[in-house]
Symmetry: C2
Subunit: 335 residues, 2 copies
Amino acid sequence: MTTSTRNRQWIYASRPDGAVGLEHFQLREAPLPAPGPGQALARVRAVSIDPAQRAWMMTKTYRPQLVPGELMPAFALAEVLESNAPGLKPGEIIEGDFGWQDYVVVTPERVQRRDAAKSIEHLMGVLHFTGLTAYFGMLEVGRPRPGETVVVSGAAGAVGSIAVQIAKIAGCRVVGIAGGAEKCRWLVQELGIDAAVDYKAGGLSEALAAACPDGVDVYFDNTGGEILETTLSLMNVHGRIACCGAVSQYDQGGWSTGPRGVPGVLIFKRIHMEGFLLTDFLKDRKVAEKALTNWLRSGKLKAPVEAVNGLENAPQALIDLLKGRNLGKMLVRVS
Amino acid sequence: MTTSTRNRQWIYASRPDGAVGLEHFQLREAPLPAPGPGQALARVRAVSIDPAQRAWMMTKTYRPQLVPGELMPAFALAEVLESNAPGLKPGEIIEGDFGWQDYVVVTPERVQRRDAAKSIEHLMGVLHFTGLTAYFGMLEVGRPRPGETVVVSGAAGAVGSIAVQIAKIAGCRVVGIAGGAEKCRWLVQELGIDAAVDYKAGGLSEALAAACPDGVDVYFDNTGGEILETTLSLMNVHGRIACCGAVSQYDQGGWSTGPRGVPGVLIFKRIHMEGFLLTDFLKDRKVAEKALTNWLRSGKLKAPVEAVNGLENAPQALIDLLKGRNLGKMLVRVS
């Protein structure tokens, strides 16, 4: 592993009005940054590709709206190369918001050290934000009871593919919603869920009703929009909706109107609908990581990953993700 | 008090497409019903006028959709006149779904006995479903903490007028939303809340933001629609929305699209949105009644009632309620 003298950086260049495209990013070469006192230089190993990155462009979310000209932010894993920072040693794997770039200068407070014995795929997927989001969102917000029917939208995505499996482990009937027959087959055959519904095939309402003969007790929503509206109409009394993402909403100019039946159906059926972010659950991260690791070891949990090679391909990977072309967690291997 | 030989009954005659009008009801005279074995005859003292009655016409809710030709249902108070039922004695006050009529034949399982020493107004308002709904919805679903900002829409209505006062008792800054300057004045001057915003005056978003300089922690929603959408945008992180009613939606053909920002804003702000019905809390009714009674006695709680005289005026009372012409709980005194 040699160190370049240049640092490639993807700059967020302009705000998309509709679907994000390559023209909204610009590749810049900066000099290799030098760590100052108390800092470390790290080489980025992999960057995360997430629907949230599109939401950051669209509006203020849990972080300020992205401003054209800034480095494209991304959760990433990096390996410490040289360090003036107490507690960070060369060779250590660290995690943080390092952005789409080759190298990063960090301070210890802004990073988390990770177990270098684990694979980059696991550290960035099932044991990283998407796996933890699936864990806490399903178990702490959705709170499924054995025998209940759980529906997950975006079921073939990074969070969804873990969420459906956790609901199976919890003893539920699990129905995934995904786009395309191939994804649906994969969900049933590879991930072992009970049924999958292709929302692109038309007739979602009838197909979902047929897949959920006892109604829906827990809905883990990654999409918002029409899929949320349709699932809402099938919810059982005292059902729970865990609002995890709204990917149907991000690749457009702003929020659409919300689903019909909010709040009416929420009232008549006494539905609990809750938005959540992983940040509120991170104090319990170790508990979740232990459970996820055990399930991986025992073969109860698969951790599908779609890895793209080369930092230069990061924008296309995000475009593909937003078009739903991935199965499982999407990441870009940088080095 | 003499007993007529005729029983006037308001029949739900046809389904309104838009606003409900007098033409959707028909007054019928039936013979005075006779109580069979195990039954009692009671004279209706007062019938409740509720927004939910409009919702029952519109769609299946927690009860089947109303069918033209049936007696217009209504929660009511009645006095037992003669009884073949064990446990029901002449002179006792009973509560149940007796409908808009002069007399009713009941069986003991379908009624609750009430304290005849209490006023009809209290038994039908603050100590009946609307007061209990305000109590449980605010304290168990909204869960305000002292110092938080609580917003209540439909604040001058039967549930809202009690809910705002309970939030004041709980130590919150309380902002009511109501239609018209007169109601807003009344809310501040008579019920002692901190601010009131007239949604009919225009500029709701700016006015509400000004009334809630620290944002909104709890929103008790009686209206749905645009008011919900506007308040949602002012919610604080970890805010709670108690969905109690959707009166903006009932007097029309069906559900409108939902508020923008569902689920997006719910996620970014980790908002908990929950629909509720009183039925789920009735096991704790005595606790609530005791608290409400104590607050009434100590003068901390006022129980505004708009009482209309005469069963013949029940349809107009419902029309007026849906137009927002009442302050507090609306009822019709029948005898």
